[in-house]
């Protein structure tokens, strides 16, 4: 079943990107993706420059975390990450000097970089998937057989317009970067995936596209979750893979990530800023450019928005949080007036959740067999990508995703 969701995108779409002043205190979350195993490289009361490495993940990916301001490390405190968990943050007192360790550079010809330099730049600058996963980007390119680059600009969840905004602003830079990446990695085709009903984004790209012959714009159907990697690869390349698209020589990058790569290649700038959408039942939904580590509270005060029911992320995959600090993979915050949990009723076994599931699970059967570990294994609950479609579609308003999550846990135990 193809599910088309209502959009709510016009709320924040096509508005100028707002840049708000940096806050007095920044809280850099010590987490990359969901990895909280971080070596901390700074001490309390130490002076840090903007863009300085504050910590690194311990695993073999070694992703650095950078400071988004210059100032003095004050403390280590806990704040809420956008998945609702508490995470340790480095609290830095901003001196508003924006001082960097080295002078800001502007590399003239990005494509002169070797593949090795390219990969280590991505790693050093902490580039991670900005669509939500937070997966280290350099890992994707650390492969010699890449033949296709898919740039994901689908943004299939309702409300979110961050990618949209960055395309409007930086289409030229994005295309440049894609071209550079292709040259460095010897990739011969690239696709930018845009939703069919987002014709205006295609027009934006078309203005510049003339010189980039190997980059194609692909209009994908307006269904949810079209932005899911597997769907994109299937739709564009007509192929499937076991774990990662690189098995078939395909790299999928979010369009915001591409822009972060641009800044890293061109200006040696780490990932310390990003565009997020602030929307919902508020007077002036906007896209804003904020530093990582900014608290939501600060943003809301600046925008004069009352703090009510907060969703970090889109309405489908997002999480209800009390507050929040901005991390590189947060793309949207939705503020709702009051949200009441829908009462769930008796399952009438209509099978809609089954037809809707993009990973071909049978949520209703998983729910019915929660007490049977064997059955859950057979039903492959762990394949769930938590897109939430089953819960969305259920006429009895049963929150099936939670049941499937529970099943995943049971399966792990």
């Amino acid at each position: 079943m193809r599910v088309v969701l209502p959009k709510f995108k016009s709320l924040s779409k096509n508005k100028d990107v707002l840049k708000i002043e940096a806050p007095e205190y920044i809280y850099i979350p010590l987490i990359v993706g969901s990895d909280t195993d971080i070596t901390i490289l700074v001490k309390k009361e130490e002076y840090v420059f903007k863009g300085m490495v504050l910590g690194k993940t311990k695993g073999h990916f070694r992703i650095p975390i950078h400071s988004s301001v210059s100032g003095i490390v004050k403390d280590f405190v806990e704040k809420t990450y956008h998945d609702g968990t508490k995470v340790k943050c480095i609290k830095i007192e901003n001196d508003f000097e924006e001082r960097t360790q080295e002078p800001v550079l502007s590399r003239k010809d990005m494509s002169k970089l070797t593949k090795k330099e390219f990969i280590s730049l991505l790693q050093e600058k902490g580039i991670v998937g900005m669509g939500g996963s937070g997966f280290p980007t350099y890992v994707k390119y650390d492969n010699d057989n890449i033949n296709t680059l898919i740039v994901n600009a689908v943004e299939c969840e309702p409300y979110i317009t961050a990618d949209n905004a960055i395309i409007h602003q930086k289409a030229q830079e994005i295309l440049d970067t894609i071209d550079t990446i292709m040259e460095i990695n010897n990739i011969n085709e690239a696709f930018i995936a845009i939703k069919k009903n987002n014709q205006e984004l295609k027009d934006v790209f078309d203005n510049f596209l003339g010189t980039f012959l190997k980059i194609k714009i692909i209009l994908v159907p307006d269904i949810y979750p079209m932005g899911w990697e597997r769907y994109l690869v299937k739709y564009i390349k007509h192929t499937t893979y076991k774990k990662l698209p690189i098995e078939k020589g395909i790299v999928v990058n979010n369009v915001s990530t591409i822009y972060a790569i641009y800044e890293a290649l061109k200006k040696d700038k780490p990932l310390i800023e990003r565009l997020i959408t602030i929307t919902g039942d508020i007077k002036n939904p906007v896209n804003i450019n904020v530093k990582t580590g900014t608290t939501l509270e600060y943003i809301l005060t600046k925008l004069q928005i009352e703090k009510k029911f907060i969703i970090a992320g889109g309405p489908m995959m997002g999480v209800n949080v009390p507050d929040l600090v901005v991390s590189p993979n947060l793309n949207c915050v939705i503020i709702l007036d009051n949200y009441k949990e829908t009462l769930s009723k008796t399952c009438l076994r209509c099978g809609k959740c089954v037809s809707a599931c993009p990973t071909k699970l049978s949520p209703v059967l998983i729910k019915e067999n929660l007490d049977d570990k064997e059955k859950i294994k057979e039903l492959k609950a762990n394949k769930c990508i938590e897109c939430g479609l089953c819960s969305y579609i259920c006429p009895a308003k049963i929150n099936l995703r939670e049941y499937v999550r529970k099943a995943k846990q049971i399966e792990k135990e």
Binding site: L5, P6, G84, P158, F309, I311, P315, M316, M317, G318, V319, N320, V321, P322, I334, L336, Y339, E341, T342, K345, T346, C347, L348, R349, C350, G351, K352, C353, V354, S355, K360, L361, S362, V364, L365, E378, L379, K380, G388, S391, Y392, I393, C394, P395, A396, K397, N399, R401, E402
Partner: protein
């Protein structure tokens, strides 16, 4: 603060909306039944005001029964009160089983039986399994099965509306589906396939109008209310099988359509088989479910004495839902795991169709002698008294046949319990048999084929038995008083209009007098008009354009064949045409 779990976006669809869609889809069907069983008989003055609204009362009563039963059960047994009770009332849709039950029953089902069926449906079909969402079997069908096993005979004689009783002779078109395999006996008595399509045939209240059911299906599938895959695969399988069967048996394309539009197939496949709670949730499960429903229905219709088969097939498949869901959920990851079941299903579909189709061609009805049984035979002087039985439609017919001096003098049915027996006695079928000199070729009574055949065979086989020991039976030729051929006509009036002679002539047809206006000019019939008739088979006459045929061949009436299946009526018409022309010529020539 406890975080609320997402997704924070839920579709606008709800169980309630789906149920409302379902009601909307059912409304035209209910209105049609109101028209067919209420308005139409009322309009033809066959019933009073109560009869007019009876269909609605019937349906409402049934819905109310299940609703009240379930509510009382929740109050008394589950001790639900206030909020809880309100929730159950608003969310468990307990009037639906009753509604469906009413629609799959014949209109003349006694109300008490209807109520009992409703109570049974809820208590056994729903509550015994733990209520809404947990029941394995479709509650309405549980109610139906209860009624049809306990009150089979009541049901089979309750199909005709007050209007139809006078015009049609057969209970439902399916009652002869396998026995008599020709268009004239199966379809003609009810008009044409078009009548089947729009619902102009006898049947259960909600099941007759194929057209409205298909419209409802379109509506429900469009709004994604029902599991449309089940309906499609069910009907597809059924249609493929009947088409194969009919082509193997050389029957022609009308046969699959006749089957498709008769009985509860369409209604069952659209409304009963897709009942969400009792059908598979996985697409593959639903597809297989449809295949096997089709297969089971074919088995029931062709290989068992129960011509209907839809409801029992659905109940049977209800039991396999969880297995099909198991196959369906695994088949989603790896279709190969479900593939074998598709192979099995299609193997069965082909094998059964071929088996049944070729069986029909060799006409199994001849190998029926073992149904005949002589219980006693007594000979005193030249009088032999036989007591013999023959397997009828639902019961054994037991008869006493006395042959005296090589002549049948008595033929009396001692015991029978056949629901269609009355149809044969209505037309004095036994008399007809006795008078016939070509017993083997006497027409059966349409609509009571099994029963009339049994009566015929009883006499025929008894005679054969007698002839083995004694001499040849003297046929009762001298007893033939009024063979239809020499039946007369009656002149009611004659007058001259514009130099034409206008006659009103009547003759006795099969079940009523037929009055025709005949216009003659220059010794030729130049016009006719049916003034009065109430003949059961008149539609066959019309369908065959028989009157035109007679008019065209008016100078050679003897050569015009009668229409088989409407012998009486066609003879009556022949008599009128021939008689009045003769009368006119004699008078004015």
């Amino acid at each position: 603060m406890n975080a609320i779990k997402g997704p924070f976006f839920r579709s606008k669809n709800s169980t309630n909306k789906m149920m409302i869609h379902l009601l909307v889809a059912l409304t035209p069907i209910i209105l049609f039944s109101f028209y067919k069983y209420g308005i139409k008989p009322f309009y033809h003055s066959k019933t009073n005001f109560l009869g007019l609204i009876y269909p609605l009362i019937f349906i409402l009563l049934s819905a109310a029964t299940t609703f009240i039963t379930e509510t009382l059960y929740e109050v008394i047994v589950n001790k639900k009160r206030n909020e809880e009770l309100r929730y159950v009332i608003y969310n468990h849709y307990s009037f639906f089983p009753g509604l469906f039950l009413a629609l799959i029953l014949p209109i003349n089902t006694p109300l008490l039986i209807l109520i009992m069926g409703g109570i049974f449906a809820i208590l056994i079909g729903k509550m015994a399994f733990g209520g809404f969402g947990n029941n394995i079997f479709n509650p309405a069908l549980i109610g139906y099965i209860f009624i049809s096993t306990c009150y089979a005979s009541v049901l089979s004689s309750s199909y005709l509306s007050a209007y139809e009783i006078d015009t049609l002779s057969s209970a439902t078109p399916l009652s002869n589906a396998v026995e008599a395999l020709n268009y004239t006996t199966l379809v003609k008595p009810y008009g044409s396939l078009f009548d089947f399509f729009i619902g102009n045939i006898p049947g259960s209240i909600g099941e007759v109008s194929s057209l409205l059911i298909l419209v409802a299906f379109g509506y429900l599938a469009f709004n994604k209310v029902i599991k449309w895959r089940i309906t499609i695969t069910y009907l597809f399988t059924f249609f493929i099988m009947t088409t194969l069967i009919s082509s193997l048996a050389n029957l022609g394309m009308w046969y699959p359509f006749y089957h498709l539009f008769s009985g509860g197939l369409l209604f069952g496949s659209v409304f009963m088989a897709t009942d969400p709670v009792t059908s598979p949730t996985t697409p593959i499960g639903q597809t297989l479910y449809g295949f096997f429903l089709g297969i089971l229905t074919i088995i029931a219709r062709f290989l068992t004495p129960y011509p209907e088969g839809v409801m029992t097939s659905i109940l049977t498949m209800n039991m396999f839902v969880f297995i099909l869901d198991g196959i369906g959920s695994k088949g989603r990851f790896n279709f190969f795991r479900a593939f074998i079941f598709f192979v099995i299903a299609w193997g069965l579909i082909l094998e059964l169709s071929i088996h049944i189709g070729s069986g029909l061609r060799t006409s199994p009805s001849d190998a029926t002698d073992n149904k005949y049984n002589i219980i006693s035979k007594e000979t005193i002087a030249d009088q032999t008294t036989y007591i013999a039985t023959y397997e009828g439609y639902q019961s054994k017919l037991k008869a006493k046949i006395v042959i005296e001096a090589n002549k049948v003098t008595t033929y009396e049915i001692l015991e029978q319990n056949d629901s269609f027996y009355h149809m044969t006695s209505d037309v004095n079928y036994i008399d007809k048999l006795l008078k016939s000199n070509d017993l083997a070729n006497v027409d059966t009574v349409s609509g009571a084929t099994y029963t009339s055949n049994a009566l015929k065979k009883l006499l025929l086989l008894t005679k054969e038995d007698y002839q083995k020991d004694n001499g040849k039976i003297i046929e009762n030729n001298d007893n033939i008083l009024d063979s239809p051929e020499i039946k007369n006509y009656e002149l009611i009036s004659e007058q001259i209009e514009n130099n034409n002679y206008v006659y009103h002539v009547s003759s006795k047809g099969f079940s009523s007098n037929i009055v025709l206006k005949i216009v003659i000019s220059a010794n030729q019939i130049i016009g006719y008009e049916v003034l009065e008739q109430n003949d059961s088979y008149f539609n066959v006459i019309i369908a065959n354009n028989y009157l035109d045929t007679l008019a065209i061949n008016q100078n050679d009436i003897e050569t015009v064949d009668v229409i088989s299946g409407a012998t009486y009526t066609s003879n009556a018409l022949k008599n009128i045409f021939k008689g009045i022309l003769g009368y006119h010529k004699e008078k004015y020539e």
